[in-house]
Amino acid sequence: MDSIDLQGVTKTYRMGVGRARVREMMPWPADQALQRLFPTWWWRDTFNALEEVSLSIPSGSAVGMVGHNGAGKTTLLKVLAGVTAPTSGTFAVQGRIAALIDALVGFHPDLTGRENVFLLASMHGVSRRRIAPRVDDILEFAEIREMADTQVKRYSAGMSARLGFGVITALEPEILLVDEVLAVGDAAFQRKCISWLDEYRSSGGTLLFVSHNLALVRHMTKRVIWLDHGKVVADGATDSTLAEYARAMERRESTNLTRSRRDVRKELAASSAERWGAGGARVEEVHIEERPGEGVEIAISFSTEDPAHEDVVCCVGFVDESGREIGAAASPPLVFTEGGGFVRCSIDPLPFRSGIYFPIVAIMSSDGLIRDRWRVDRAVVVNGQATTLSDFGPVDIRAAWSGERAKESENGDGHG
């Protein structure tokens, strides 16, 4: 069964501001008549945010959506959420739907966090009675217990974003539309949201996930829809679609001179496919395999320009969601055949606490000059148990302890 089904959906917006909207104010059937009689006048100054979009999403599947700014992603979500009606075409949504269009979710600044929870729930059509028993859970999830009775206008952006997500978790949606909400909030909360979304997916929820963070899209989904100028450009398996999308973004950078290079850089950085280095050697291919026991095996092939010149050292490091460098492992000086080589790195187990980590593969000369450093567009997810040390940073230090052991009953965590 399909949760979402769109047939030829077009959404037309009118440009320009300031004047009274005579065309829009015409009720049916006057609008149809005017449209037919004066088509040029009626369609003047319009553009299509969505053009003939047809797609269906089976229930229980997770689908990603990518596209540059203005591609129509948010408009599509708004149509599905019932916020705005399509200009033409039909769509059907089967099941309870909830949408996080953006981090601001429609809170009222003068109401307290707690009052906003009730208000927001009722805007989703969930009654006071049904949400009341869950309010504490929501505040707990959003980590704003102490601020619950403070007006939302005094909240930080991160706090309202957390509260917005918290309310969604309590609505028990069957279809969830998420638009770039994980961009706000700190790394710890993002991790919490991601693991909630993981649980949501595995319990059979349908997810449509919009993000510029391609690593996250890859983690969340098996299928990706690529929108461009309101049209579906590609719709297929996550890996191939994202690869195609990333290539197109690079092409855009080299051809589109009207756009500032910094903007494009930013987008590329957000796609986490950063790469830099002094040159002379190059990482050609990286294959990452996650093993069930929390370990990873990374296979790297690389090339060098001048085989006889110097030894190279291969390096595998990790950064977290916020781009902070966490740690790295370096290979011994490597032997290579003509023009390149192949090396396999096994880290088992990964010495990290629960979270998402992005591997970096680098080729360096033995004196430490970075020849090529590549932030691989692929996330490694560690799902360890929560420990009492979760506030102590991402590295899980394995230590041997000696001393008198506490009695069984007092033995709390036992970790370490």
Binding site: Y13, E24, P27, T84
Partner: protein, 257 residues
């Protein structure tokens, strides 16, 4: 439309409650502001029309005379002036959530209705304290109020929807209701209107309502159908046209505001 709004009745209550909470939040006198405006306007009206202009209201004390009409009248005008802009103001909420838009102006009407309840309690207290008491016909008050609410809600739906497309509405409404106050027998009795103008004054649906409120609350008489006919017809027309236009255009609100 009624069924959709009914499904979101919790939201309606939440919004009405929010309006109330917000009105008195961070204010000093707080809830006192709910009682002050009707009392103050009656006091001012008494000064102007009773003491200065010396309008003849028969045996009825002027404050009671004014209060009985001014309270329902205030519901009518405040609903219109305060609810007209609610759809436009809720732009950011509308662009993210898909609730029935009619909840927005209706919640404001509900808030204003609560004000009326407080004013009525004040009126009842005053009537008993002044020794006049309330006649048995006061039991008809809810029926008259229902007619007034239907009329008001119909107009509010129409006006708040039109305001989304043509913002002149928001500017014209306060002016309109103010003008209407002077041609409706709120501060003066219908009997003091010159004979030749009475038919014109009577066409106004609010005339029949205001006069009827006074009949049932003070004089203990049941209003006849002839007096109320314009109000009944007006209410029916307003609710049909208002809800039709609102539901015909509400899907476009978010794209236009």
């Amino acid at each position: 439309m009624i069924r959709r709004v009914w499904g979101y009745r919790d939201l309606l209550v939440s919004l009405a409650r929010r309006n109330y909470q917000l009105r008195y939040r961070q204010s000093f006198a707080g809830f006192f502001w709910a009682i002050l405006p009707p009392v103050a306007s009656v006091a001012v009206a008494t000064f102007v029309f009773d003491k200065v202009a010396k309008i003849d209201t028969g045996p009825v004390p002027y404050p009671l005379f004014a209060f009985a009409a001014l309270a329902p009248w205030t519901f009518f005008t405040n609903s219109l002036t305060q609810a007209t802009g609610t759809v436009v103001t809720a732009q950011s909420t509308m662009s993210r959530l898909a609730f029935p838009r009619a909840v927005l102006p209706l919640a404001m009407c509900a808030t204003v209705l609560t004000d009326l309840a407080i004013a009525c309690a004040t009126f009842a207290a005053y009537a008993y304290l002044s020794g006049a008491g309330l006649p048995l016909t006061a039991l008809l008050f809810p029926v008259l109020l229902l007619v007034e609410v239907v009329l008001t809600v119909g107009l509010v739906l129409l006006v708040s929807a039109l305001n989304v497309f043509v913002r002149d509405v928001r500017l014209a409404v306060p002016f309109g209701v103010q003008a209407l106050l002077f041609v409706t027998p709120v501060m003066y009795p219908l009997s003091s209107v010159p004979e030749s103008l009475v038919p014109w004054v009577r066409v106004n649906p609010m005339t029949g309502l205001v006069e009827s409120f006074r009949l049932v609350l003070i004089e203990g008489r049941v209003p006849n159908l002839q007096l109320l006919a314009p109000a009944l017809i007006g209410a029916a027309a307003a609710i049909v046209i208002g809800s039709w236009y609102f539901s015909a255009t509400e899907q476009r609100f978010v794209d236009v505001v």
